[in-house]
């Protein structure tokens, strides 16, 4: 820490006071943006991590979670923003001076050193404050190092392995050495980059429990990166769900599962039925033409919302007419402790989990209790772009020119273009559309698919469509101009609206 304080004394002191008052966060990530070769990996991301917690960064591969970890470790420098550890800004501090240690994905044990020397590597370099020494610090003695290394090896259950060659160890043992090597340095924060990814399932389960126990014993903050949602829910005090470089939700595991903040989180965490509905009034939701009681309130009257219903929350029983929906079982799969069934109703194919088996073709009824219905705000309800009127009934936006009524506007006027989700049409052949795009996401919403695409200029479009589109498909975009509305662009009004 002495090193840290020496670098920017004035600034440091000020920030320490500030954060001490504000929170007990050990790590504070503020407005971090990271751009690699023109691709934005993290977008203005802010996050506080509480002291002593087991925090998991969870997301699909390429979402930016590992980049965030590497920024904290110091292997990358942010394009914008600052990271504070205990109130000290660290982005200009090299990794070897940061009070964090990393357990690498592929362990990165030094192959030319044995287990003992691997673990001792950090200790041999460590400077400890010592008033008696002229330099103000001293190094650990051999005896001290041996004691600490053996203690760390004992903690990971590899007491007698010190003399062993690291290459002669199994994957699980190498993993333990990597953990010992990191914790022996007594970091304030331990960073773990998908450390269990290379282990087989049984080993992984064991290490999960051991890591959790180690976290309790050591009492330091763990930041754990994984793409495995089950691992994240099992181990963490707090889960940070990241997608496309943006935090989707930060919450305790139970809350992430029970109350996902949006359709992405609901889809990513566990199995779920994601539907579209309308909030009729407080405590009443309407979907598929039925009004059902629910436990949510505080939405606007008739606001369009997303609905998540977990498959294990749906009550399924024999015969028609006993619940809210009648349907026919189209498939049944035994999953070890329960059966997973697809039930086709007039409106939707529900995924249902139950202890009881219903055979294919059986007529069943489904009942959904109020507290099983989780309601989320729609992320976006309309596509909005900045455009320009180029002629009569001609507007240019999102990299293409479209026919839109332009009464009252003149060529050259800057306008805001509102494109409803159902005004966009996708075409199989890129040539058939006005602009080309790639599909990034396709979510089934009950009666339709909500598809997200981005154009070559990196502009997003949300589309409601009856067809499913595959990820990474190349498509063309057409727009039904009669459904599009435009509005005069007023920079000042726009700026206010953002606030």
């Amino acid at each position: 820490m002495n090193d840290l304080n020496r670098i920017k004394p004035a600034e440091t002191a000020a920030t320490v006071n500030q954060t001490a008052k504000k929170s007990d966060n050990i790590i504070e990530v503020k407005g971090i943006t990271k751009v690699f070769d023109g691709v934005t990996v993290l977008d203005d991301l802010s996050l506080g991590i509480k002291r002593g917690q087991f925090v998991t960064l969870l997301g699909p591969s390429g979402c930016g979670k590992t980049t965030l970890l590497r920024l904290i470790a110091g292997f990358e420098t942010p394009t914008e923003g600052e990271i504070y550890i205990e109130g000290v800004p660290i982005t200009s501090i090299p990794p070897f001076k940061r009070p964090v240690n990393t357990v690498f994905q592929k362990y990165a044990l030094f192959p030319h050193l044995n287990v003992f020397k691997n673990v001792a590597f950090g200790l041999k370099l460590k400077k400890i404050p010592d008033e008696n020494s002229k330099k103000g610090y001293r190094k650990f003695t051999k005896a001290e190092i041996a004691e600490k290394v053996n203690k760390a090896l004992k903690l990971v259950g590899l007491e007698d392995y010190g003399h062993r060659d690291v290459n002669s160890l199994s994957g699980g043992q190498q993993q333990r050495v990597a953990i010992a090597r990191a914790i022996v340095c007594e970091p304030k924060v331990l960073l773990l980059d998908e450390p269990l990814g290379a282990l087989d399932l049984k080993m992984r389960k064991e290490m999960q429990i051991e890591l959790k126990k180690m976290h309790e014993d050591l009492g330091i903050t763990f930041i754990f990166v994984t793409h495995d949602q089950e691992e994240a829910l099992t181990m963490s005090d707090m889960v940070v769900v990241i997608n496309d470089g943006v935090i989707q939700q930060v919450a305790r595991p139970k809350k992430i599962y029970d109350e996902p903040s949006n359709a992405f989180v609901a889809d990513f965490i566990g199995e779920s039925n994601i539907l579209s509905g309308v909030m009729e009034k407080d405590y009443t939701i309407n979907f598929f033409g039925r009004s059902l009681p629910c436990v949510d309130k505080g939405f606007e009257k008739n606001e369009k919302v997303d609905i998540v219903i977990r498959p294990e929350d749906i009550i399924i029983c024999d015969g028609a007419g006993h619940g809210h929906f009648d349907g026919r079982v189209v498939s049944t799969v035994f999953k070890g402790t329960y059966y997973e069934m697809e039930v086709l109703t007039d409106e939707y194919e529900f995924t249902v989990q139950s202890q009881k088996e219903f055979s294919e073709g059986a007529i069943v009824s489904l009942e959904i209790l109020p507290d099983s219905i989780h309601i989320m705000k729609k992320m976006l309800t309309i596509n909005k772009y900045l455009g320009k009127v180029t002629g009569e009934n001609c507007v240019e936006f999102a990299g293409g020119e479209f026919t839109v009524a332009t009464d009252g506007y003149e060529a050259g006027d800057e306008v805001i273009v509102y494109v409803p989700f159902n005004a966009v049409e996708l075409t199989d052949d890129e040539e058939d559309g006005v602009i080309g795009a790639n599909v990034t996401q396709s979510l089934y919403r009950g009666s339709y698919y909500q598809v997200q695409v981005y154009t070559d200029d990196d502009i997003d479009f949300f589309i409601d469509t009856a067809d499913e589109w595959d990820m990474d498909d190349r498509v063309g975009i057409n727009i039904d101009g009669t459904k599009v509305t435009i509005e005069r662009y007023d920079p000042e009004k726009e700026a206010q609206g953002e606030e």
Binding site: F75, F96, T102, F110, F121, S168, A182, C185
Partner: protein, 273 residues
């Protein structure tokens, strides 16, 4: 059907037969000839006199020492120059620039005699006559790519996470280089050394063309023994060649052994038990 197929498909080892044939004719057979001459006296009878002469003539030891000297000096100079170049070429901003690496390899595509002739005239243009120093320059120049490539290959293929782990554990760039990068690149250094030291040890063309009378190597003496018909002594030359060959093999095996000891490639997650 099955048996007919089987009859047509010959074993993969058959592909090595042409090479084996070439080796037999141009390597094994000459070696046998060398041994034959080495143990053959002037009158055609079996003798070990030639070997006795190799080990008793003081001149041989002196020349052997001089050869080791010039080979070691050239190799050391080459290593000192090549390592930093390999390090820079392998580091991230440059490792994608194939053209840079190619620049160092292109000389290998030109016949080495031509290169030596070119270097010779270049040096004399600069006013440097045939000398010991000129011979060393010639060797360094000639073998540079052979030293550079193995080191570069090891460095460019080295897992970046070792360096990151070292920095993560508190080592600055210098300590990381000395404690991680350098030890892990030893196999490349050893193979670079053996690819340079061995050929120089038995070469004589470069010293003959670039060096002066003081630049003696054992290879030159062997060449003399065979070339000079009056003085010509096939038996003695063969025995000397054979001893040289044994020395080279011993040194190479030692190098391989050392290299293997450090080369145990790490494989994450591999179960070895």
């Amino acid at each position: 059907m099955k048996s007919r197929l089987k009859a047509k498909v010959f074993k993969p080892t058959a592909f090595s037969f042409p090479y084996l044939a070439v080796t037999l004719v141009f390597v094994i057979f000459p070696l046998i000839l060398v041994l034959f001459y080495a143990f053959r006296g002037e009158d055609g009878s079996f003798t070990v006199d030639n070997f006795a002469l190799v080990f008793t003539e003081v001149e041989n030891l002196r020349q052997l020492g001089a050869t080791i000297g010039i080979a070691a000096l050239s190799t050391a100079i080459c290593l000192i120059i090549a390592y930093p170049v390999a390090y820079v070429l392998a580091s991230s901003p440059f490792n994608k620039m194939v053209i840079l690496s190619l620049l160092f390899i292109i000389p290998m595509w030109i016949n080495f005699m031509l290169r030596i002739f070119a270097l010779q005239s270049l040096l004399s243009m600069l006013g440097m006559q045939k000398s010991y120093e000129a011979a060393v320059i010639g060797m360094v120049y000639d073998f540079f790519p052979y030293m550079l490539l193995p080191i570069y290959t090891v460095l460019v293929n080295m897992d970046k996470s070792y360096v990151e782990a070292s920095r993560d554990l508190g080592a600055n760039s210098v300590v990381t280089f000395l404690k991680v990068t350098l030890p892990l690149s030893v196999p490349g250094v050893i193979s670079g050394i053996s690819m340079m030291f061995m050929p120089i040890f038995s070469s004589y063309a470069i010293t003959k063309m670039m060096g002066d009378a003081n630049t003696t190597v054992i290879g030159a003496k062997i060449a003399n023994l065979f070339e000079n018909q009056n003085y010509g002594n096939y038996g003695y030359g063969s025995a000397l060649s054979f001893v040289l060959l044994v020395i080279v093999i011993v040194v190479m095996l030692t190098g391989n052994f050392l290299s293997n000891r450090t080369m145990k490639a790490p494989k994450g997650g591999k179960v070895n038990e």
